[in-house]
């Protein structure tokens, strides 16, 4: 009995140790390197067969080199950026050591490296890989390296999101090639008026959070309760930003409009859902992607100075008249964010009094969600110039907004005071512009 157990466990220990060795030795990247080596050898052999005498010596040398290529872990290093990226253990074509041309000729090889100027401008020995592409550079399996795992918050950025990485260093990214989506995102950001509520590194609206370091937001700070079927390994900032633009934000961040989440209802304050207007209604998926791409460039991570490219100086804009100037002011301060482009349609403000709300269904979220910010084209005409200036000066505090459901939450959006931001000539130009878009009512009364 003991003799049997003695042998059984001895062999079990030995067997498991061998198994550990086999598991350890069997690494995903080895297969990819062998595949690359095979393809390289067969390509060179093919070329050698049809080569003339002049080319033969160099091809033979290349073949010899290819055959001698060791199967080993490789990494691209950028000590300046603290990046040690083992991506090149699988993506061999792009490794300047094995392939000085940095071009992988094999269309059928999964790691075809693009022969693009961006790669040449950012050599791997200075930038490594993950500084732009993100992902987990230290990892050597596909899932881990591409960041498609829990506990890794920087997933591999694919097109178009990778353009967000250009934004991180290139203050002048709008002037370089290959950043079309980021550029489009920035333009959209201004056009739909994000800056009216969100600030950007301290400058901008005060209604919502600062987006200047939004790309750094840790996933654990985010409430993923209402993101539907998003699997845990996809819970990263990219998806969080994009969902704000492709989903109804009331569903994403529902708040507690009825004040139900405390044990004692009497002490419970209702909480409004996210105040972010339903931009998904206006934006195409490509628009949302472009905005997300631009946002992914918004980081506060410290980079060595020599990696930063400053923005180029812009000439002082000139305006044909005061109305055009005012329109620029309207865009600059993001008024469109709440009042719609050109002030033509007020956006959603939960539980504010709006049109078409059914008074008999006062507690329903769908009715409260019909609350609107003022549509400027309609209301500006009811103000005198001095009254409107005062309104812009003082703003409207959240508590002064008329609620649709008096027991419901305070509407999340409000008019901030612009006193310290819009002044002098800008203010007058803005007033000129606002009165120019106001609807002229047919009959005075």
């Amino acid at each position: 009995m003991h003799r049997k157990l003695f042998y059984l466990f001895n062999f079990l220990v030995l067997g498991l140790f061998v198994a550990a060795g086999v598991v350890d030795n069997h690494r995903e990247w080895k297969g990819y390197q062998k595949q690359y080596k095979r393809m390289e050898i067969s390509r060179l052999e093919g070329e050698l067969a049809s080569a003339d005498a002049e080319q033969k010596p160099s091809l033979e040398l290349a073949l010899k080199t290819a055959k001698a290529m060791p199967i080993r872990l490789r990494q691209a290093m950028s000590p300046d950026l603290n990046r040690y990226d083992r991506c090149v253990s699988c993506h061999l074509g792009i490794d300047p050591e094995t392939n000085p041309a940095q071009v992988n000729a094999y269309a059928e090889h999964p790691f075809k490296a693009g022969d693009i100027p961006e790669h040449k401008a950012h050599p791997a020995n200075k930038f490594a890989c993950t500084s732009c592409h993100q992902g987990q550079g230290l990892a050597t399996t596909m899932e881990d390296a591409h960041g498609l795992v829990k506990h890794w918050e920087e997933p591999l950025l694919r097109d178009p999101y990778i353009q967000g990485s250009c934004v991180r260093c290139h203050g002048n990214f709008e002037e370089i090639r290959g950043t079309e989506q980021a550029k489009r995102g920035k333009a959209l950001f201004a056009k739909i008026g994000c800056i009216g509520c969100h600030s950007m590194k301290g400058s901008g609206g005060e209604v919502s959070v600062d987006l200047g370091d939004i790309a750094d937001k840790p996933a654990s700070r985010i409430d993923w309760s209402n993101t539907g079927p998003l699997p845990p390994h996809q819970r990263n900032i990219l998806n969080w930003i994009e969902m704000h633009l492709t989903k109804d934000t009331i569903e994403l961040i529902p708040g507690d409009p009825h004040g139900h989440s405390c044990a004692h209802l009497a002490e419970c304050e209702p909480v409004a859902p996210s105040g972010m207007p339903p931009f998904y209604e206006e934006l195409s998926y490509e628009d949302a992607q472009a905005l997300t791409t631009y946002m992914l460039g918004m980081t506060d991570k410290k980079l060595p100075k020599e990696f930063k490219v400053p923005a180029s100086a812009k000439p002082e804009p000139r305006y044909a008249d005061s109305i055009e100037h005012g329109k620029a002011v309207f865009t600059k301060f993001g008024c469109a964010g709440c009042h719609g482009e050109g002030g033509a349609s007020g956006r959603r403000n939960f539980n504010a009094l709006g049109e078409g709300q059914d008074k008999t269904r006062i507690h329903e979220v769908s009715e409260m969600a019909k609350g609107r910010e003022p549509t400027l084209t309609k209301v500006v005409g009811t103000y005198s110039r001095d009254e409107l200036r005062k309104k812009l000066h003082d703003g409207v505090a959240p508590s002064s907004i008329v609620k649709f459901n008096p027991d419901g939450p305070t509407p999340p959006l409000f008019m901030p005071s612009w006193k310290t931001k819009i002044k002098g000539q800008e203010m007058e130009a803005l007033l000129d512009y606002l009165f120019s878009i106001a609807e002229k009512s047919g009959e005075e009364w």
Partner: protein, 544 residues
């Protein structure tokens, strides 16, 4: 040319007769005689801690379960794998996490080593606890082994501390926050911690108290990592190693096994009978650890970020029971006082329980009080761990294991405290009655009647609570169950079994029992009636 004939026998003879061989193996050639079996033990430095012969009863698997030896084996595996890991690990905040990734992805056998170290550490904590339970149940701590039991208790604490210091080293979110939770308890030490009662006596602040000494700062940071690294790799293993030597030496000196020898029973040879069992246990555990290490990876979360607190932050599993007590008690009780009492109480057991019964064999009927109280404490400890580990979610709210943590829970009801006079009266009554009643009532109490009366009385109170006080049924039942357990273990057991103990032993034993049951009473008051404190003295930061 013909090859020379090879004779294995001849070669063996040549080799074993050589001066080299004979100098290494004192006792050659081996013969299967009683004398040689004894010399195998006596002449071998690794085995000579064993006696040459042992009681047959002690050889049974079900007597010791090999738990002490397995603990030592795990300690050895941990030492070896730990030393190997030290070659790859740099204890700085910039590099520690990166080295974890390197171990997983670039180092040969790196992840295997790390897994082995991790799983062995968890296994060692578990096995050492089980070893203590086994030693208790076989009464093996009794005279002359009282001191060695105390050494064992210290070794258990050192095992926990070794595991805890190692917990920080991967420098991920799991590590930093578990250690933050754990070390925050130190800040609640009475007098010596800045948040503990009487902190102002010695002028304790966050930057000079005992927690500061432990962390090397006010928060878990670079200094903490270095301190924990040195403690984990050098200081604590040295102390543990020294105490293990002492523990083994005392085992040998206090006679190897407490198992009694039946009349006319002959002792059995340790070689091969005990040695082969020890070897098989070691091989089986090694195989189990290897298996785990091949198939399950040690956890590694995001890199440590002092600015992002996970919700919930949990201590390592063996401290989660104490963390669960934080729900019911202030940190100085849950994190300092109770652990201190547990250690002190455990060490005191052999000096309190001087009964000559049940030494060296399992018995419930000969020592019902000791077994019941001890096993109740053990069960309570593991139930608290289970609750803390599996039933607590965000904000430390109660989540069933099948409930998603993404579902928000309503905020729990507000709590209240007794006023000072009421609190003092209640505590004094609990202490005074609890200490005196079991000793003063000399007659035999019929448990069935007493339990019936207690439950009947409580049923009336419960009905009044439910309909008069509008308290939900499950709360009433919780209070009832916990109070009945207190009645059973805090009154009925002591009354029947220890009322005739000498006064010092009775006093200490009953005080320990009352403190253990007091935890239960407080839990009942909180769960059932939302009581925050029984006694509230905010001016001294002293709340019970």
């Amino acid at each position: 040319m013909a090859l020379p004939e090879i004779s294995l026998d001849k070669i063996e003879k040549e080799v074993t007769n050589s001066q080299i061989w004979k100098s290494m193996f004192r006792n050659w050639p081996w013969q299967d005689t009683a004398r040689h079996r004894a010399r195998h033990i006596v002449d071998n430095v690794w085995l000579h801690l064993h006696p040459a012969k042992i009681q047959p009863r002690a050889l049974r698997w079900t007597f010791t379960w090999g738990l002490g030896g397995i603990s030592f084996l795990l300690f050895l595996i941990l030492t070896i794998s730990g030393v190997l890991l030290m070659f790859y690990y740099r204890p700085t905040v910039e590099l520690a996490y990166q080295d974890m990734k390197d171990l997983e992805f670039a180092v040969s056998f790196g992840i295997f080593l790390r897994n082995m170290h991790r799983w062995c550490a968890h296994a060692m904590v578990t096995v050492v606890m089980l070893h203590m339970i086994r030693v208790f149940l076989t009464g093996s701590y009794k005279k002359p082994r009282e001191f060695n039991w105390a050494v064992g208790v210290i070794l258990l604490k050192l095992t926990l501390f070794l595991s805890f210091t190692g917990y920080l080293l991967p420098w991920d979110q799991l590590a930093i926050w578990a250690v933050t939770v754990g070390t925050n308890m130190a800040g609640a030490t009475p007098v010596l911690g800045n948040e503990g009662p009487f902190a102002n006596l010695l002028g304790m602040t966050i930057s000079n108290d005992v927690r500061f000494v432990l962390l090397g700062g006010t928060t878990v940071g670079a200094n903490t990592l270095l301190r924990f690294y040195v403690m984990h790799c050098v200081a604590v293993p040295l102390i543990t190693g020294a105490l293990i030597i002492l523990h083994f030496w005392r085992i040998r000196k206090d006679t190897f096994s407490a198992a009694p020898l039946a009349k006319n029973e002959e002792k059995a040879d340790v070689w091969p009978n005990l040695v082969v069992r020890e070897y098989i246990a070691a091989a089986a555990v090694t195989a189990f650890i290897f298996f785990l290490s091949v198939y399950a990876n040690a956890p590694l979360e995001e890199i440590a970020n002092p600015n992002v607190t996970p919700n919930p932050s949990k201590a390592p599993w063996y401290f989660v029971g104490l963390q669960e007590l934080l729900v019911y008690f202030d940190p100085w009780i849950a994190g300092v006082l109770l652990p201190g009492i547990i250690i002190g109480g455990l060490c005191a057991i052999p000096y309190l329980d001087t009964s000559k019964k049940g030494i060296g064999y399992y018995t419930w009927s000969e020592r019902p009080f000791a077994n019941a109280q001890f096993m109740f404490g053990i069960a309570f400890w593991f139930i608290l761990i289970t609750i803390g580990y599996f039933f607590r979610g965000p904000n430390y709210f109660w989540y069933w294991p099948w409930e998603s943590w993404l579902v928000h829970k309503p905020v729990s009801a507000p709590t209240w405290s007794f006023s000072l006079p009421v609190g003092v009266t209640l505590l004094a009554a609990y202490g005074a009655l609890g200490m005196t009643l079991p000793r003063l009532i000399k007659s035999e109490i019929c448990w069935r009647k007493a339990s019936g009366a207690f439950l009947g009385l409580f049923a009336l109170v419960g009905l009044w609570m439910k309909f008069g006080g509008d308290i939900s049924t499950w709360r009433v039942v919780t209070v009832g169950v916990l109070l009945y357990l207190t009645f059973l273990f805090g009154f009925l057991y002591p009354q029947r079994y220890i009322r005739d103990l000498d006064l010092p032993r009775y006093t200490i034993t009953q005080a320990l029992v009352l403190m253990q049951m007091g935890v239960l009473v407080k839990m009942g008051l909180r769960l059932g009636l939302d009581v925050k404190y029984i006694l509230e003295l905010p001016q001294f930061n002293l709340n019970i």
